[in-house]
């Protein structure tokens, strides 16, 4: 096939990989604690073919799933395509058939009728299944060992068209809690709330509408509520017809937090919407209840964080205002007001990709980890440009002591999302390790780093050399061998 475009999304460290690979027993510097037994999954967008329209954004690549299996102090690597219906159709055609990110108006006629999802956003585990997820499509099921694709699922009855890439596991019921947006199609305000049992079947579906159509990338779940933050990363069919990027940021619209009770029998009519002034937020670190109050922790920026989804009113991208700081939004269910009770910045470090000890999902929690962008520590390569996002520091916040820790990966590397590995099912919160990928930008290679989770400042305790370059990745999760 022809070569990829000579643009930043397809060159340097971002050169498409497209490699299905197996490496038995990665070479390791340091020591992998032998008690680590389980598997870390993550996904990278990786275009199967050169883009139909000549260029593309990184978020539109096909999902490539990596699996790092830890056992007896060794770690083994496997990587396979998430073979979506789109992937298969294009594979058979030998070229791209789908056009711009979430713009079916740009597709080749041969693409019509095929689910557009790329399964490139999260590799999520539930009930022994591996789900490769993209929020514009249903969940794609894969075998967690072989990484063979088994196909899309509707959980035996989901009636919405989409399933989030950021479901949560209810730590008490073991159910997977998810949602969909654009549930009746692109640009519709229709949303759906889902609860899926560990056997993969749908237990509950609630339809509702959000105040305006926008990117609903993440959400939060507490014991009694599902929480939806509505941030004006908006779109419209007019935009798509004009060939603009699907999303753009609108600084004139307010931000909302929708609170859906999870109690039996709740419906759309039970949702309560809180409203606050315009800002940018995407991923959620965690949320929890404290009496009638609900706390919702998310990195918040003053303005747009996505330069590839530009301001809808034409304002230039503002890098200073794109810095996001972990912020606690608090709403009071006992209040009569639709206003937030407070918006409190929690950290000095600017960062995104927030993660927790997932066993504390929706519960009061102490530790959070995130990727920090430290502008005082630039990437300095012999070759010149960084070739990717410069998240070069791992940060940890201890909400109990109000302290922060960080570890900088140096001037020739960048980092991908951290993931927490508990020492065991009954270990205290934070007792375990952080696993994450480090991009060695000059070597065009990657390392898998392992940290003591609450002592990240001392640096990695082990670095596994991955002989295959791991592209800019999104989200990943840990599956204990016991599960």
């Amino acid at each position: 096939m022809s070569s990829f475009p000579d643009s930043p999304a397809f060159t340097g460290f971002n050169t498409p990989s497209r490699v299905e690979a197996d490496v038995f027993d990665l070479a390791v510097e340091g020591t992998i604690p032998p008690e680590i037994h389980g598997t870390f999954y993550r996904v990278q967008p990786d275009p199967q073919f050169p883009p139909l329209l000549g260029n593309d954004i990184p978020f539109n690549g096909d999902g490539m799933i990596a699996r790092f299996h830890f056992e007896n102090g060794r770690v083994h690597f496997r990587q396979r395509w998430a073979k979506t219906d789109k992937w298969k159709l294009e594979h058979d055609a030998g070229r791209s058939l789908f056009g711009a990110y979430r713009n079916p108006l740009t597709d080749d006629p041969a693409a019509k009728g095929t689910i557009r999802g790329t399964a490139n956003t999260n590799a999520f585990l539930h009930g022994g299944r591996l789900y490769a997820l993209k929020e514009d499509s249903p969940a794609l099921v894969m075998d967690p060992d072989t990484l063979e694709t088994l196909g899309y699922t509707d959980f035996g009855g989901m009636t919405g068209e989409t399933f989030t890439a950021h479901p949560k596991i209810d730590p008490e019921t073991g159910d997977m809690i998810g949602f969909g947006y654009a549930s009746k199609g692109i640009c519709t305000r229709d949303m759906t709330y889902y609860e899926v049992a560990p056997d993969g079947t749908l237990k509950r579906e609630i339809w509702f509408e959000n105040p305006y159509y926008c990117m609903m990338h993440d959400f939060a779940v507490t014991r009694d509520y599902a929480l939806f933050h509505v941030v004006p990363i908006v779109s419209s069919w007019e935009r798509l017809a004009e060939g603009k990027p699907h999303f753009g940021f609108d600084t004139t619209l307010p931000v909302h937090l929708g609170v859906l009770p999870r109690r039996e029998g709740a419906t759309a009519a039970d949702i309560r919407w809180f409203t606050t002034e315009n800002c940018f937020a995407s991923h959620v670190m965690n949320a929890f209840q404290e009496g009638d109050r609900i706390h919702f922790d998310t990195p918040v920026a003053k303005n747009n964080m996505f330069p590839f989804f530009p301001d809808v009113h034409g304002a230039p991208f503002n890098p200073m205002e794109s810095a996001s700081f972990l912020t606690r939004w608090t709403v009071d269910m006992a209040s009569n007001s639709d206003a937030f009770e407070s918006r409190t910045r929690l950290t000095d470090m600017a960062g995104e990709f927030p993660r927790i000890d997932d066993r504390y999902q929706g519960l009061p929690y102490r530790y959070g980890w995130l990727l920090v962008i430290d502008p005082t520590k630039p990437v300095e390569l012999k070759g010149g440009s960084a070739g990717g996002a410069v998240m070069n520091t791992l940060g940890m916040v201890d909400h109990e002591t109000g302290t922060e820790q960080s570890w900088w990966c140096g001037p020739v590397s960048s980092l991908q999302e951290p993931c927490f590995i508990p020492r065991g099912p009954d270990a205290p919160e934070g007792d375990g390790w952080i696993v994450m990928i480090c991009n060695r930008l000059e070597d065009r290679a990657s390392d898998l780093l392992l940290f003591d989770a609450t002592d990240i400042a001392k640096g990695p305790i082990a670095s596994a050399r991955i002989p295959v370059r791991m592209r800019f990745g999104l989200h990943g999760n840990w599956l204990p061998a016991a599960a």
Copy 2:
């Protein structure tokens, strides 16, 4: 497992790869002629585990076979381990058990009794079988499509212990002609000549002795003769007991060319040995008969070409004298003398890895290709060292016109052995393409280059981007789809 040594053989571009990989439809710059239909196989030494003795030479790595399948203007990549008995034993142990290159005295006791071969020298095709070859062991059979290892073969009756990594196909009979040395074990002078039918069964075996034990890496076959060049890359059990490198070069011994008649009923008694003064030669470009004369074309250096196999008398390695020039050795079977008739240098370029249009094996031929080391064109990396041999130019010699052509790959790359692809089974000599791997040293990636075979000076007509770094490789071959 623990990390590899911080030595040149294991760092930079030479970092172990160890990746079993599949890439469908490599990205290509330029155009692959759609009439190319078949598969290019090559092998790289790639250590499965860190060396038992703390460090090692590149030639001791385990064989990793790559397969590039061309069809309809596309090329697909697959790479798998040659799973030798050594590989399996070490895989199960999770560490190296075999010590230095061809020195069983350095092995772990657990290695005793297992064939030491690494299958890391050639990927050779005959009769629908893929052979992964190492000259110290039997031939390892692999499936040419899946690259699954099927195990060692003795061709149904080979009684020697070893089979060369450089067999030839007799263009008239289709038989595979091979030989073994150290056929009764390391440091023995016993050799064996083999003819193997396309069905994989042994047709003929002749035992003989060479004048002294040495590295017998290649040979030549003409219609009537098998030709063995004996060059004093020598060894002894004393060397092995002292922990020296298996081989060392001895400038005090003469060079011989053994001529074994291939006629029915020939035996060791029929071998005729010619003798000439000391020099260094390893690979053979081709040989052919002209009346009673036999011409034997090989790159010849004044002195040792292998710094890792140092002078047995302690002389320092001499880079100037290690330059090899394609040279025609001629012996006259009608003469009564044991002297060579002539030794004629054929090229101005210094090079090795000589190849031809293999359909002209043992016959008068016009074209040869080789890797040229051009000292006026050094590797200049941003990062510093070259990280490997600096064969950076493809050369072609036209024996009919006495002219040479070359193409330099630039200051940040190096090249691996060329291989000729005929346009079709009946195409004239040289009518086709050259395929070869280019190491892009700074990008830590590799390209597969395609040239018009007799117009290499204009540069590649297509470059396929291999997203996996291909280590220093040895030999490879082309299998037409029709075969």
